[in-house]
Symmetry: C2
Subunit: 278 residues, 2 copies
């Protein structure tokens, strides 16, 4: 039985596999990460070869499974690159392995659309989206859909009110949702598994110094919908700390690993900047 040796709200300069071994079983509420992609960022991180990627990730995913609570969720953002005019398949193979070899439940795939980096390629268009895969350990996960409700269109509100006068027969009809949540939030529409978040040009921000940051809106969305206040969010590949910032903003505790000292520095600066601005 491992013990929990690590304090919260810190980024540890370790390989994530070493770091994860220091965490207790079922001590984490939510995992959000974007690991290094295969064959990218040579020089920055040690580049993982495409055909070794799944085997490289499996021991990490095993540890993630161990430390996550049964009510927790694991979100992973990763996209295959193209090589010789074909998109690689390792991301699909990874998803299949996580379920079939390690027993993760594959809840859903999100598509995050953004403004693609321009480029003309032989036989295809620039890339304008990335998938985010949602895994869990059980069917009873924390889920607060109305925390990410979007304002309804005018017309839809009217229609909803019309409908609401003739009360529906069954209370809720929806698993895991209390009826009054629906009523209270009449003006909020539920989002879908499509997230449109244009990538910002981070030219003069601290964020820009890390080569592969996702926008803060991404972890924000998943933290709101799939965790409660005060819970613990883990990012095993912390990079410049976007997951930590989002956690701070939303009143969650957090924890992360990162091997590059310079990114830890950037992340701590960003966190300090956020704390000062409050």
């Amino acid at each position: 039985m491992k013990i929990k040796e690590l304090k919260l709200n810190e980024i540890y300069k370790m390989d994530c596999l070493d770091g994860l071994k220091k965490l207790k079983n079922e001590s984490i509420d939510l995992i959000i990460t974007s690991p290094p992609y295969a064959d990218r960022r040579e020089g920055e991180y040690k580049s993982i070869k495409t055909n070794e990627y799944v085997n490289w990730f499996i021991p990490i995913a095993e540890e993630l499974y161990r430390v996550l609570k049964p009510s927790g969720s694991f979100f992973i953002n990763i996209k295959s690159h193209c090589s010789k005019g074909e998109r690689e398949l390792y991301v699909y193979e990874l998803v299949i392995a996580l379920k079939k070899k390690l027993g993760w439940r594959f809840v859903d795939e999100f598509t995050w659309t953004k403004n693609g980096v321009p480029g003309r390629f032989k036989g295809r268009f620039k890339n304008g989206f990335e998938p985010i895969f949602h895994f869990a350990k059980s069917s009873e996960i924390i889920f607060n859909p109305y925390a990410v409700g979007v304002p309804m269109k005018e017309e839809s509100i009217k229609r909803a009110n019309r409908k609401a006068t003739g009360l529906t027969k069954n209370g809720s009809g929806f698993a895991g949702m209390r009826r009054n949540e629906t009523m209270v939030n009449r003006s909020l529409a539920l989002p879908s598994n499509h997230l449109h978040i244009p990538q910002k040009s981070n030219q003069y921000t601290l964020q820009s110094k890390h080569p592969a940051v996702f926008p803060v809106e991404l972890p924000e969305f998943f933290i709101k919908a799939f965790s409660d206040e005060g819970q613990v969010v883990l990012d095993p590949f912390m990079g410049s700390g976007t997951t930590a910032i989002a956690s701070e903003m939303l009143g969650r505790k957090w924890l992360g690993f990162e091997t590059e000292a310079k990114y830890i520095e950037i992340a701590n600066e960003r966190l300090k900047g956020y704390a000062d601005s409050k």
Copy 2:
């Protein structure tokens, strides 16, 4: 050596595997289809079981490979359903099998975002996107990206013109693209692999009578970008004929198979309606 027994611009009431056998090697320029999804619409079509889906599709994909020209492309729209709170994996397995077992080149994945069918589910949101997978036989495929160019933003046009005054040193640098194509189309920006096409409410249209139609904009996009005028488009699962309509609209010949007489009737009505409206 098979001979081509079938006339163009017709929907044949056959199982697509039987129909495909009547087509000559390399006689088709473009394939666009949305096959029946696994475990759906029982009663309408014979439902294909999730765990048998890949093996069911492989012989069809082999025939598609045989009839497609080396310069052709194959687009397949298919999305896994959810079962017991998990999204099934057979679509990823299919993509992997098409490449690794049958030798198809996997060019790219498109994401088609739409307005999701409302519904509240346990632990996940409504579905707001479907993938479309692009396969080919060679790296030398027909590709007309500017046929689907979207108007550039005002500001980008100005910038482009400024740049164009100081001509770049090398002619093109980009394979498969003639320089003047770029210049002539200065006011068009290339799209990405993200297509946003809200699904129309087809409640009162002929289209609605088929349970699983994709919007005509979808085949339109692929026909424009990946085929030339006068070429032959095949849809092995024609349904209510959306691929045929799009082909007619764009001056392509077409051909399709469909086992249900009532959908062939609907498709022919739609085609007649289109012809009359011209």
